[in-house]
C-alpha cells in the first residue's frame, strides 16, 4: 500500500468511527444498531482485494475495539477475515462487474462477520454473545449495511484508487488483479 492509501485509510476509519459512535449508536432497533466498521472491512476487500482488505480490516478492527468494553482484539481478528474473504470473492465477481452485486456481497460479509464476532466472543468466555441478541444484531447490521454499503464502498475505492500491489499491477475497479 502506498503512503497516500494509508493516509486515506486512516482518515476513512477515523470518520467511520466517529460516525458510528456519534450517530449510529443512537439508531437502535430492538437494542441493536448498524455497524459501519465491519462494513469498512468488507468493502475494503471488495475494493482492493484480499491482501489490502485484510490490512484495512485489521486497522478498522483496532479502531473499533477502542470504543467498546469487550476483549481488545475481537474486532481486528474478525475484520481481518471479513476483509480477506470479500477480497477473495471479488475475483469471482470481476467478470460480472456489477456494483450492486459487489454491494450485496459486502452486506452479506458484514452479516457473516457479525455472526463470527459473536461466536468468537463466546469462545473467549464472554457470556450472552449468542442468543436473541445475536439475531437482533444480525438483522439490524444487515439492514444498516444495505443502506450504507454504497457510500462505504465508494469511500474505500477512493482510499485505494491508483494503488498498486508489490508485483506492479494496478487495482482496477471491478477487474481482478489477482
Amino acid at each position: 500500500m502506498t503512503a497516500s492509501s494509508w493516509v486515506r485509510l486512516v482518515f476513512v476509519v477515523a470518520v467511520g468511527l466517529v460516525f458510528q459512535v456519534a450517530v449510529l449508536d443512537d439508531v437502535t432497533v430492538f437494542g441493536a444498531h448498524p455497524d459501519v466498521m465491519i462494513l469498512v472491512a468488507a468493502c475494503a476487500g471488495m475494493a482492493a482485494g484480499p491482501q489490502r482488505g485484510a490490512i484495512a480490516g485489521f486497522t478498522a478492527g483496532l479502531a473499533a475495539d477502542l470504543v467498546v468494553n469487550l476483549p481488545y482484539g475481537l474486532s481486528p481478528l474478525t475484520f481481518v477475515l471479513v476483509g480477506f474473504g470479500t477480497g477473495l470473492l471479488r475475483a469471482n465477481l470481476a467478470a460480472r462487474d456489477v456494483e450492486s452485486t459487489e454491494a450485496a456481497t459486502c452486506v452479506a460479509a458484514a452479516a457473516a462477520g457479525t455472526l463470527f464476532y459473536a461466536l468468537l466472543g463466546a469462545l473467549t468466555g464472554r457470556s450472552g454473545m449468542l442468543g436473541f441478541v445475536t439475531v437482533y444484531a444480525l438483522v439490524v447490521v444487515t439492514l444498516g449495511a444495505v443502506v450504507l454499503s454504497w457510500p462505504v464502498l465508494r469511500s474505500l475505492r477512493w482510499v485505494f484508487a491508483g494503488s498498486q500491489d508489490r508485483l506492479g499491477l494496478a487495482v482496477p475497479r471491478g477487474g481482478s488483479a489477482v
Partner: protein, 276 residues
C-alpha cells in the same frame, strides 16, 4: 506470478491473524490490559465532545426510532423526566441555599434508597457501541468524581454500575447485560442473585429454592452483599413470573427492571465506595 501473489496474500492473512490473537492475549494480561484501558479512555475523551454535540442535536432523531417501538410508555415517562430534570438542575448549584433546596428536592424526589449517599448527576450521551453489550455512556468522568464500580441509579431504582471511566466520560454496564450479576433480596424471603439476560429479556433470579415464597409484583431490592459493591435497599426489579419446578426443588423467577433502560437520559452516580 499468480502463485507468488497467493503466497503473499496468505502470508499477510496469517500475520494479521497472529497479530490479532496477540492483541487479544495481551488484553487478558494485567499490565498490557491497563495500557489498553488507558488508550481506550483517551479515545473516549477525544470523541466525547463530538458525542455530546451530536447527542444534543440528534437525540430527537434517535427518539423517533425508539419512540416507534416505545410510544406507549413515552408520555408517562415524559412527566417523570421533566420532574427529574428540574431536580437535577437544582442539585447542581453550589451555595448553601441551593444545597438545602437540593436536599428538599431529594426528599421530594422519593429517592429514600440513596439517602445520605452523595450523588453525581449525569446525562446519557451514548448507547452501547457494541451490539453484544448493554452499556450507556455518561457525560461525567473521573474529573467529576466518577469512578469504576460506582452504582448508577435513576428516579425509580438501579440502572447498573460504572465499569470504566475516562477523564470526561464513564461507561455504565446496565443491569440487563448478560454479564451483570447483582446480589438481591425479595422482601424478607431470602437472598438471591439477579442476572441480566440481554436486551428485551427479563431479569432472572438465581439461587431460588423451591420452597421460597416469592409472588408476582413484589419488588426486588439490592441486598448489599457480595462485597457491598452496591448499597442495600435500591429497587432494581419487579417480580414478573414465578414458576416452581415439578419436583418442587427449585423456582424460576423473572423480574422486570423498575427503570425503563430503553429511554435513559438523566441518572445519578452514587459516590459509594465498597466498605473495607
Amino acid at each position: 506470478m499468480a502463485a507468488n501473489r497467493r503466497t503473499s496474500q496468505r502470508l499477510t492473512l496469517v500475520m494479521l491473524v497472529l497479530a490479532s490473537v496477540t492483541v487479544l492475549t495481551l488484553d487478558y494480561h494485567g499490565q498490557a490490559s491497563h495500557g489498553i484501558t488507558d488508550v481506550r479512555n483517551a479515545v473516549r475523551d477525544v470523541i466525547s465532545p463530538i458525542q455530546r454535540g451530536v447527542a444534543a442535536v440528534l437525540h430527537p432523531v434517535g427518539d423517533v426510532f425508539s419512540g416507534t417501538f416505545n410510544y406507549g410508555s413515552l408520555e408517562t415517562q415524559n412527566q417523570q423526566l421533566r420532574e427529574e430534570l428540574g431536580q437535577i438542575r437544582l442539585k447542581l448549584t453550589a451555595d448553601a441555599y441551593a444545597s438545602a433546596e437540593a436536599a428538599r428536592v431529594l426528599s421530594l424526589a422519593h429517592l429514600p434508597f440513596v439517602a445520605g449517599i452523595p450523588l453525581i448527576p449525569a446525562e446519557v450521551i451514548d448507547d452501547s457501541t457494541s451490539n453484544f453489550q448493554s452499556t450507556v455512556e455518561l457525560d461525567r468522568g473521573t474529573s467529576s468524581g466518577v469512578g469504576p464500580g460506582m452504582p448508577v441509579v435513576a428516579n425509580a431504582g438501579l440502572v447498573g454500575s460504572v465499569i470504566s471511566a475516562s477523564s470526561s466520560t464513564a461507561t455504565v454496564l446496565l443491569e440487563t447485560d448478560s454479564s451483570s450479576s447483582i446480589p438481591a433480596s425479595v422482601g424478607a424471603t431470602g437472598l438471591y442473585r439477579v442476572l441480566g439476560a440481554g436486551y428485551g429479556r427479563p431479569l432472572t433470579l438465581d439461587y431460588v429454592a423451591g420452597s421460597t415464597a416469592v409472588t408476582r409484583g413484589e419488588l426486588v431490592y439490592t441486598s448489599g452483599l457480595g462485597g457491598g459493591a452496591i448499597p442495600a435497599g435500591i429497587p432494581l426489579g419487579v417480580v414478573r413470573s414465578v414458576r416452581v419446578s415439578p419436583e418442587g426443588l427449585s423456582t424460576a423467577v423473572t423480574a422486570t427492571p423498575v427503570v425503563n433502560l430503553n429511554d435513559l437520559q438523566f441518572v445519578d452516580v452514587l459516590e459509594w465506595l465498597e466498605p473495607g
